[in-house]
């Protein structure tokens, strides 16, 4: 109660200040009058009496202050005073304020932007009901299950697949069924697999969509309602149920314009009719970070969609087909450990019964919290993001050091003012508080501008990340509450960091000398000024050293990127457009019709204007995909299986890709259809497996007698397949007889100009066939180098900002020094110092600092450079050239920053300088 009364009377004196003030005045006045009257009774005159009371009882004005200060609201009031005073001080120096706010905005903005991305990828909660109750199942065993088919879709931490230890998040349908049947520990279980790239027709132009196969209780378990219509339910998963699909909210908006009539409509997915029964809630944008879907269909539709997972028509029943990711919601009151024990038992019984593993293999299930267990894009984006976060943290330190330097010289300029206030009775604590308030004001102004920068920057970054992905990706990088709290936190931290030292330095001044000195310091012999210079110098050295870190890191990554781009992949990457088609998905094509379509399309495309050559292959080189197979090779002493990279190709492939033929012949149109099977291999194949013996006429193939045997009919030059960094591996090029194809169109000029023409040609052949993944080879390579490009761009940008900040810091310090030493410079000039001497004097001061910073920075960089190692190519983490280059750059720019103050020093007129005070 008394706390309440305290607060309410505090509020009263805050908001009805005048009345409370008047009352206290009247009360104290009455007190004085009564005391004085008492005195006057003893015969003293009024003035004397009032004086006597003051002496005895204390000055009433002071009394009032004492009463004020004893109230808690006084603290708030002085804070508010400080803020108003601070704003006035900052408005009086708009130039200073602008520089400081901008510097901080850069530092805080860059940090906020990168943190928004980190937040989106690492921290944001899964947008479903009570996500903390969700767990993802991961199994492990001491050995690899016997002859299982395994698919995973990047939801979980990568699969461990050694002979002696295996673990993965993919499970078979029978295991899912048993866990559902036996486990009482979950209130719901959701299984899913995908995305599958599905051909969708029946809604405008045919297109390819990302669809996920989900169990019937997927939406109920996650607690995701329908925005329109209904979601998939358990009845939809039953065999023989009508084929249904649920659209994601975003896809509904883009592809159906958000029209309510979409629900109930029938579309064709991979040739099979599906009825759209609903649209999922708008909030449900993802389960695993970055993985977004266009639509969901029941698990039991695998066969209808002709998906290979689980091996064809009986997919969902196969015991040795591991393809489902399973997420469970823990029932109320059930601990993770309890559920884990129960699930492990079910899993062990089932895999033992299915003869996949023995009890001795110790098969078991671990339950991972879904928030951390479902990694999604985290697996590939976390490392570059953390490196960039480190770079922006350094940038923030630089801006702090910079602002601290500026504050320091301003504190020096304000020494007289502060001395006056100290001598008038302000306590040092009070003045420190005032100065800190000003720093915090600046920090928050910087943060406000910084958040604007971040808002723009984070979205630009998010679209850069999404543009470089293979499938649709959802990334919500808009700053949310977590991000705003983060920014406010670093604003407070920076405010204290750059404000405290100058504030303490400012108030530690001795009053007497400070009052006596002129507005600008007297001479270099002034010990205090010297110490302040030392602090300022330290800040400049720190800035230069930190800039070295960022610039050297940026330099190494940029050089690696240049090296990677210079790598010769063995074929001509310029002016090639590629796009994918997959006619067999629709169900209307058999192998023969597919071959005929490819032949016709190849023919028609080759007549288009500007087209030099056309071919196709099962995948494109340098696109992230890789197909390998274990084969036995005839004529080898060692009969064991060897791993060969494989690619099926159409006629003219080597001509279209410009891969030189070394020996034998290339694959002809006849080879596409007829037996015997023939193949073209590369030089590494011959060198590594055949010890350079004559390869033509030799055969290779799988170990099973039923597998096809390929006769080597030609040899081509080596090419890289999936990775620019790795040396070329043995590749076998086989004739493409079926399946999806990537057409490669080599043009004489801009290959993107061919896109509309190619679309028309395909539509003329079959209007229901969508094309997908339309990109030039150069774009594909850029996409592979995503991490390097992200870091090179950002680090380069931040390096330049760091350089500019360090220069401003150096310039500020030297300008202040020149101003401070005006008198000394005047004396020197009067005594005959030449302009060259003065220039040397200033430049020496500046360049010593820069050189010290560079040396420290290089030492520091050598300590942390190993973190960059995985991103580098063709350059050592300790590359001397880069470090020398960065050092030279800083020296040159530092020299330029010295020049302006030095010129000012040279122009000092000795007469003016000596009369300065």
């Amino acid at each position: 109660m008394s706390l309440l009364r305290n607060i309410s009377s505090g509020m009263r004196s805050l908001f009805r200040k005048e009345q409370v003030d008047r009352e206290l005045d009247e009360e104290l006045g009455g007190f004085l009058e009564m005391a004085a009257e008492e005195k006057m009774k003893q015969g003293i005159n009024r003035a004397e009496a009032v004086r006597a009371v003051r002496l005895e009882r204390g000055n009433l004005a002071v009394t009032k202050e004492v009463v004020y200060a004893a109230r808690w609201e006084a603290f708030l009031e002085t804070c508010w005073q400080d803020v108003r005073f601070g704003v006035r001080m900052l408005r009086k120096n708009p130039g200073f304020t602008a520089v400081v706010v901008l510097t901080l905005a850069l530092g805080i903005g860059a940090n906020t932007a990168i943190f928004s991305l980190l937040n989106a990828v690492m921290l944001q909660r899964i947008p479903v009901r009570n996500p903390q109750e969700l767990v993802v199942l991961r199994w492990s065993a001491h050995s690899r299950p016997k002859s299982i088919g395994h698919s995973s879709f990047g939801d979980c931490k990568s699969t461990e697949w050694a002979v002696s230890a295996a673990s993965s998040c993919s499970l078979s349908y029978p295991i899912l069924r048993e866990i559902r049947k036996q486990s009482r520990e979950f209130s719901g279980i959701a299984a899913f697999a995908g995305p599958a790239q599905l051909d969708l027709s029946g809604n405008g132009m045919a297109s390819v969509v990302s669809g996920e196969l989900v169990s019937g209780d997927f939406f109920q378990t996650l607690g995701v309602p329908a925005a329109s219509g209904r979601t998939i339910d358990s009845a939809d998963e039953k065999p023989g149920a009508e084929a249904v699909a649920v659209l994601s909210y975003a896809y509904w908006r883009t592809a159906f314009g958000g029209s309510p009539s979409a629900v109930g409509k029938t579309v064709t997915l991979n040739g099979a009719p599906f009825t759209i029964v609903g649209v999922a809630d708008s909030g449900f944008t993802r389960l695993s970070p970055g993985k977004s879907q266009d639509l969901w269909v029941p698990l039991s539709q695998t066969a209808a969609l002709r998906l290979p997972w689980g091996g064809g028509t009986t997919a969902s029943e196969k015991t040795n087909s591991f393809w489902l990711t399973v997420v469970g919601r823990l029932a109320p009151g059930v601990s993770l450990v309890q559920a884990q024990t129960a699930t492990s038992l079910v899993f062990r019984d089932q895999v033992v019964q299915d003869a996949l593993l023995k009890p001795g293999d110790d098969p078991q299930v671990t339950l991972l919290p879904a928030q951390t267990g479902l990694v999604g894009m985290r697996s590939w984006v976390a490392e570059p993001l953390f490196l960039v976060m480190a770079a922006v943290a350094i940038l923030l330190l630089i801006s702090c050091a910079n602002v601290a330097g500026l504050m320091l010289s301003r504190a020096a300029a304000r020494r007289k003012e502060i001395a006056v206030r100290l001598s008038l009775g302000a306590s040092r604590g009070r003045i420190t508080r005032q100065l800190l308030t000003e720093s915090l004001l600046l920090a928050f102004a910087g943060a406000a501008v910084g958040i604007l920068i971040a808002f723009w920057g984070a979205n630009a970054l998010a679209s850069f990340v999404t543009a470089n992905r293979y499938s649709a990706l959802y990334l919500n990088a808009t700053p949310d509450l977590t991000v705003l709290l983060f920014s406010a936190g670093i604003a407070v931290l920076t405010g204290i960091l750059f404000g405290l030292a100058p504030a303490l330095a400012g108030t530690s001044a001795n009053i007497a000398p400070a009052l006596k000195e002129s507005s600008i310091g007297t001479s270099k012999l002034d010990v205090r000024g010297g110490r302040k210079f030392a602090l300022g110098s330290g800040l400049v050295v720190a800035q230069v050293a930190l800039s070295v870190l960022v610039l050297a890191g940026a330099g190494l990554v940029i050089r690696s990127l240049a090296n990677l781009k210079k790598v010769n992949p063995g074929f001509d990457t310029t002016n090639v457009l590629q796009f994918g088609v997959d006619p067999e998905r629709s169900g209307h094509y058999n192998e023969e019709r597919t071959r005929a379509l490819y032949r016709e399309l190849q023919n028609r495309l080759s007549y288009l204007p500007g087209v030099v050559a056309v071919s196709y292959s099962s995948d494109t080189l340098l696109n992230g995909g890789l197909w390998t197979s274990d084969v036995q090779i005839e004529g080898r002493a060692d009969k064991s299986l060897v791993e060969v990279e494989m690619l099926t190709i159409g006629p003219d492939y080597f001509k279209a890709m410009r891969i030189p033929v070394v020996a034998g012949r290339v694959l002809s149109p006849v080879d596409m259809a007829s037996a015997p099977d023939v193949a073209v291999v590369n030089r590494v194949f011959v060198r590594r497996f055949l010890e350079n013996r004559e390869p033509l006429g030799l055969h290779f193939g799988g170990s099973d007698p039923k597998d096809a045997k390929y006769e080597i009919v030609g040899v081509v030059e080596d090419t890289k397949y999936d990775d620019l960094r790795r040396d070329p591996e043995p590749i076998a090029f086989l004739p493409q007889k079926k399946g999806q194809a990537y057409f490669a169109v080599r043009t004489s000029a801009n290959p993107l100009a061919v896109v509309p023409l190619a679309r028309t040609e395909l539509r003329n052949l079959d209007s229901n066939l969508p094309i997908f993944d339309v990109r030039t080879q150069t774009e594909r390579i850029d996409r592979m180098l995503f991490g390097e490009r992200l870091i090179a761009r950002l680090a380069g940008l931040f390096g330049v900002v760091a350089l500019i900040l360090a220069c401003i810091g150096l310039y500020g310090l030297l300008s202040y020094e020149v101003a401070r030493q005006t008198k000394e410079i005047g004396v020197r000039t009067a005594l005959g110092a030449q302009k060259g001497d003065l220039l040397r004097l200033i430049a020496r001061q500046g360049l010593t600092l820069v050189a010290t910073g560079i040396a420290l920075g290089i030492v520091g960089f050598l300590g942390v450079t190993r973190f960059l190692k995985s991103l580098l190519y063709g350059v050592q983490p300790t590359d001397t050239q880069t470090l020398l280059g960065v050092g030279m750059l800083l020296l040159i720019v530092g020299g330029l920053a010295c020049l302006i103050p030095a010129r000012r020093a040279m122009r000092v007129d000795p007469m003016v300088a000596l009369r300065y005070e």
């Binding site: 109660m1 008394s2 009364r5 305290n6 009377s9 009352e23 206290l24 009247e26 009360e27 104290l28 009455g30 007190f31 009058e33 009564m34 005391a35 009257e37 008492e38 002496l55 005895e56 009882r57 204390g58 009433l60 002071v62 009394t63 004492v66 009463v67 004893a70 109230r71």
Partner: protein, 110 residues
Amino acid sequence: MSEQASDLVQGTLDMLILKTLALEPMHGYGVAVRIEQMSDGIFRVNAGSLFVAFERLQRAGTIKGEWKTTENSRRAKYYSLTERGRKRLESETREWMKQVAAIARILEAS
């Protein structure tokens, strides 16, 4: 100027004010004079300490203030004890007596 007021044991001013007001409602100057009189001039109360104490006691809900007219027809704020204040005075007096007796025993022991 002798600053006897500073000789007041920390925290006792509140108790003395409460005691003074327990006799009758009084304005600030009256309280100061009364404390001086009752202590035979040993304690002289500084205006600053006095009004800070009034503020503190009001906020703690032990006294309340009311504007009235004095016998010299001057407006003054009269403070009076609340029920809470009366209880607090009792408990503080008891505590104080106990402590004084204890200190006295220690000082007399030799």
